[in-house]
């Protein structure tokens, strides 16, 4: 018995150490850092490498490893936590991002270059600083356990002291307690957050080094969900904020586990007891945990419905788009397994698995996207379905019956798991589902009445689809079955989302109280979603079983449940089609690309490492940069496309001619500096308008607002009568707007001809594939493009430069080439920013006649920003003068030239300065001005 206690205490200490790390980050950032154990994983691996491969002393390698842990923590804070926190207050986003971080860090330790030599590691074991042992209560404590016994209390006490008594600790707690009040006290919150993560990184590094000797190898499982679950339970004892309580919780759980092990002699039974104890903690401490962890925001970024321009409304409807997408998707899915590369059984098997992952992704979308609950155990439900299928398949069940029964079991399990979480979003559900993910493979799947503890697993007998439809035997047949099931799930999901049910679910997610006021019972709705999601995930398990032919425990590593969270997130939470796309994007490269990349993660980790790396990157990219995921990106692309079609259709009917450009009341400030203040200008049909003003008057800014590079904070920009102030630059081109930039850099590696052809791409669209294959239509388009480009070059007298690289042109010629590129877009309004800037005097003189000819031939209008007064005087119909973001004068060139305000603020009275064409004054500009008169 005394052995049990000693082992329990030591085990408990390691749990407590991890729990304390969770508490530290929780105190500072109010979220459960699922990546805590992994922050230090790299340190532990590198320490082994230093000592084993490079023969560095442990005592030197250890501090280096801790520093690496600190740097990891700082990097995560700087590039993940800080940007995310400034963007949204959703703690679930942080939770998902931390899963991404943990996957990325785990992928890192698969890289062979960072790992110690595996053979040496196996022979020598994980490096230890000394060789000694002490016998306590019948247990021999070797160096690894001695370090735990000595270091853990020191570390925990040190951290508690740091937080409680040092000023930095107080600043950390203050920032966590009330961030705004902390700022008002002068607390540098950025630095405080960085210090917290640095400490967390150091802590995690030490933890990983202490735990490493007990781990066989460093892989996803060793520091993964099993330890995490226990650490969460321990941290929950103190409501995630108390360090002593977390420590005691760890000790308690360690003792509970060892004592149950002593009684039952069965590790999986002991784990079950531990899980029960953790659930008990959550029930008993519900009030404290609730107070600490109420998530008010939902994890989903809802996409507005697809915006369809009026002009194409009778042509395109959302349902038609969905139909087209579905048909394309189905066609691809049907054709792919018949392609030469996929024609092997192994590849078709992997394709089926992708479909299963897609179904789990859809199940997660229902739960996370629609109901706002995070599940860390969905892959376990696949296991439940798979084992039920294995058990029932010999009894000649038909496939639909199997799917139904497995689905019901999954629904029941997830509903029960979610019961404690019905009142709370986020945390509780995450912990209970993680518990299921850990306990089910360790206990449920090994029970003889349910699963099988045989390493070969339980055999699955192929089942008939229906009485007359036969039994799928080949992988291809199974793939087709899976495709049909997935299609049905998608249809059901899409139908649900647009029905009463879907609306009710979203309403409950967004505002329970208000939903209740409409007569909806939130708890019932949540449980219904849980049941549905569980049903879908478990029925995917039947397909899993059919594909694998045998179901075994090791197919359901709890880490998979964390990994698969990336699928709905990458897809864009809330979109069922997105979930399918997410599954394809994550697992297709894993199965079909990673085998060719053995160089990166080594033979050993190529698939696991690749998948972790890809999933981690995907999770981080989506949470940080594109919360709407693939679905959002697709929707945006569709909107751009529809907008373009609508533009074309609208262009047809003759309308009352509208002025090409009307800018009114545009306001724009950078910080406190107002750059545009009620700026207003107008360009009429066929006009050439100049815009002058001192440096910093806001001329270029105004052009940026007009072209959409910058967005005005208020005011209106109308192109040919259409309001475009909110549109991005690519839309504005559709209105016939072309714009040159102040520094015409163009594309240095392209010739003049190629540059113009590039600009013509938009008018003759040819896919990359068609041009690669030299399809006849592609060649026609190519010929047409070339002819048009030649025409433009002739018009601009550029023909002799056609095959010169643009980087070899003089500045003036390059600007003309730039102009040619603008012309290729057949603009109706050209905006030029200092076309003569940096151009030699001789070349400047080419511009006015050229611009006028372009205006006459194309029938377009021009807006020009220039400092060269003589050129503007000779060219423009009207001129605006800007000072300090305001338009101070407007009129014919002569009027503006004579305007006293313009003279005072811009021109000055020094004629020489005004007429500084080209800067060398070789040719007095006044003569030209006179000539023009």
């Amino acid at each position: 018995m005394s052995e049990t206690v000693v082992l329990g205490v030591i085990h408990g200490m390691t749990i407590g150490l991890l729990a304390v790390g969770l508490v530290l980050v929780y105190k500072a950032n109010r979220f459960i850092n699922l990546a805590h154990a992994q922050l230090g994983a790299l340190s532990a691996v590198l320490l082994a490498k230093f000592v084993i491969d490079w023969d560095i002393s442990w005592w030197l390698a250890f501090p280096v490893a801790v520093v690496i842990g600190i740097l990891t923590g700082l990097a995560v804070e700087r590039w993940v936590i800080r940007p995310l926190r400034s963007k949204s207050k959703a703690t679930e986003m942080l939770l998902l991002a931390s899963i991404g971080v943990s996957e990325l860090l785990l992928a890192l330790i698969f890289i062979p270059a960072l790992r110690p030599n595996n053979n040496k590691l196996t022979v020598r074991g994980y490096p230890l600083p000394f060789k000694a042992h002490v016998d306590v209560g019948g247990v021999r404590l070797n160096a690894d356990l001695l370090m735990i016994v000595v270091l853990v209390p020191v570390l925990v006490a040190g951290l508690a002291y740091f937080l409680r008594s040092t000023f930095m600790g107080k600043m950390i707690r203050g920032t966590a307690s009330n961030q705004e009040a902390a700022r008002l006290c002068g607390v540098p919150i950025g630095r405080v957050s960085a210090v917290t993560w640095g400490v967390a990184g150091a802590f995690s590094a030490v933890t990983a080094v202490l735990l490493a000797p007990a781990q066989a190898s460093f892989d996803a499982a060793s520091l993964g969900p099993e330890l995490l679950l226990r650490a969460l339970g321990a941290a929950a004892v103190g409501g995630f904020v108390s360090i002593p309580a977390a420590c005691l919780g760890g000790l308690g759980l360690g003792l509970v586990e060892q004592i149950s092990l002593y009684i039952t002699h069965d590790g999986s039974d002991a784990l079950l007891v531990v899980f029960a104890a953790i659930l008990l903690v959550f029930v008993v401490r519900a009030r404290v945990i609730n107070a600490a962890a109420t998530a008010e925001t939902s994890v989903t970024v809802d996409r507005p419905p697809l915006r369809i321009p009026d002009a194409v409304r009778e042509l395109v409807t959302p349902s038609r788009i969905r139909l087209v997408l579905a048909v394309i998707g189905l066609a691809v899915a049907v054709i792919v397994p018949h392609l030469p590369y996929f024609a092997s059984t192994a590849h078709q098997f992997e394709l089926t698995l992708i479909l299963v992952y897609a179904m789990v992704g859809v199940a997660l979308t229902l739960l996370m996207g629609w109901a706002g609950q995070v599940s860390l155990g969905h892959f376990t439900l696949v296991g439940v379905g798979a084992f039920i299928a294995a058990r029932l398949s010999p009894h000649q069940w038909s496939l639909p019956a199997l799917v139904f029964v497995a689905g019901l079991a999954g629904a029941a399990l997830l509903t029960v798991t979610g019961l404690p979480a019905v009142r709370l979003r986020g945390l509780t559900m995450a912990v209970t589902t993680l518990g299921v993910a850990v306990v089910a493979p360790a206990w449920l799947f090994r029970q003889s009445w349910f699963g099988s503890s045989s390493p070969f697993g339980a055999e699955v007998i192929p089942v008939a689809v229906a009485k007359k439809l036969g039994t799928p035997h080949s992988q291809l047949h199974i793939y087709h079955v899976a495709l049909v099931v997935l299609a049905l799930v998608l249809l059901a999901g899409a139908a649900l989302r647009r029905s009463v049910g879907g609306r009710v679910v979203l309403a409950v997610r967004d505002n329970e109280a208000a939903a209740a006021a409409f007569g909806i019972t939130p708890a019932t709705v949540k449980l219904a979603v849980l049941a549905l999601s569980g049903f879908v995930a478990a029925s995917a398990g039947v397909l899993w079983a059919l594909a694998w032919r045998s179901v075994s425990v090791n197919q359901f590593n709890p880490a998979l449940s964390l990994g698969i969270l990336a699928v709905p997130v990458i897809g864009g939470l809330g979109s069922v089609a997105g979930a399918v796309a997410g599954a394809v994007l994550l697992y297709a490269p894993t199965y079909f690309v990673s085998p060719h990349l053995t160089g990166l993660f080594g033979e050993f980790g190529r698939q696991a490492g690749f998948q972790l790396g890809l999933g981690g990157l995907g999770l981080l990219a989506v949470t940080l940069a594109y919360p709407a995921g693939v679905a959002g990106a697709a929707q945006r692309a569709a909107e751009v496309f529809l907008e373009r079609i609508a533009r074309r259709r609208e262009a047809r009917p003759e309308q009352v001619p509208q002025p090409p450009l009307v800018v009114e009341n545009v306001q724009l400030s950078f910080g406190g500096l107002r750059v545009l203040d009620d700026a207003a200008i107008r360009v009429d049909e066929g006009e050439i308008v100049g815009l002058i003003g001192p440096n910093g008057a806001g001329k270029t800014t105004l052009l940026n607002v007009i072209s959409g590079v910058l967005h005005a904070q208020a005011g209106s920009v109308r192109l040919f009568g259409e309001e475009v102030v909110d549109l991005s630059p690519e839309f504005r081109a559709e209105y016939g707007l072309a714009r040159s930039f102040q520094h015409a850099r163009l594309f240095p590696g392209l010739t003049v001809m190629e540059t113009i052809q590039l600009a013509l791409t938009n008018t003759h669209r040819v896919g990359i594939l068609s041009s690669a294959l030299s399809a006849p239509w592609a060649r026609d388009a190519e010929r047409e493009t070339r002819r048009e480009a030649q025409e433009i070059l002739e018009r601009l007298n550029l023909t002799r430069w056609a095959d010169t690289l643009t980087s070899d042109l003089s500045t003036g010629t390059r600007r003309i080439c730039d102009l040619g590129a603008q012309l290729a877009m057949r603009p109706k309004l050209i905006v030029l920013d200092e076309p003569t800037g940096g151009v030699a005097q001789r070349e400047v003189e080419m511009f006015p006649p050229l611009l006028r000819r372009i205006r006459d031939e194309l029938g377009c209008s021009l807006l020009i920003v220039e400092h060269d007064m003589p050129m503007l005087m000779s060219l423009c119909d009207r001129i605006y003068a800007m000072v300090a973001g305001q338009v101070i004068a407007e009129g014919t060139p002569e009027e503006v030239r004579a305007n006293p305000m313009v003279v005072a603020s811009y021109l000055g009275t020094d004629d020489a300065a005004i007429h500084r064409s080209g800067g060398n004054g070789r040719r007095p500009a006044r003569t030209r001005e006179k000539a023009r008169r």
Binding site: F167, A176, N178, A181, A182, C185, G672, A714
Partner: protein
Amino acid sequence: MTTPILEARNIEFSYGRLQVLFGISLAVAPGEALALLGTNGAGKSTLLRVIAGLETPSSGEVLLNGEAVTGAPAETLVGQGLVLIPGGRSVFPDMTVDENLELQALTVRHRADWVRERLDHVFELFPRLRERLRQPAGSLSGGEQQQLALGKAILLEPSVLCIDELSLGLAPIVVHELLEIVRRIKETGIAVLLVEQSLNIACQLCERAVFLEKGAVRFEGRAADLLERDDIARAVFLGGAHEGARR
């Protein structure tokens, strides 16, 4: 006129696309108490947040003692003598009263003697706080929390004290006590910018008042004159009467 201790010039501010403040200007003279009044959603609290550096204005200037501090983050303004008591939650509920005060003294940590002196002064004003030094601030009553907030604020002997909704959610008797203390704070020469919904409270304390409506200044002048402005008084009192009717 002497340089205003705090001045806002043409402040404009938007939350995203929604503009909340439209060119607001106001000035607080040293030692003066200025009331910032207005209906719900007039932009009073937002203006205070802009002044204290919690938000960056889209245009306009904030001057502290004649020096431009526009866009300076809140963390740096404390050291320059500007302290804001935000409305609602302004203490660290999970930390003891002691720790609350200690964090507030962050910027003057090196002057331990001076801090001790100031603490004595704070405890003189709020003897309750000394009794509850070891208690988490979250366990104090609403009035005591406001006392702590005020205590924290004057600990640093700021030159300007901005108070957002002193009376929010407090019993009248508590408000009365607090008002008395704010009056004493003002007498020590600290300028006060007080945001209030209640006209009466403001007029008791402040000589001058600025009245905001829909993000713009509608009235500026002697607080007493404000009471005579029927249109404005009605805007406020009607709101009050409305509430009264609901009770």
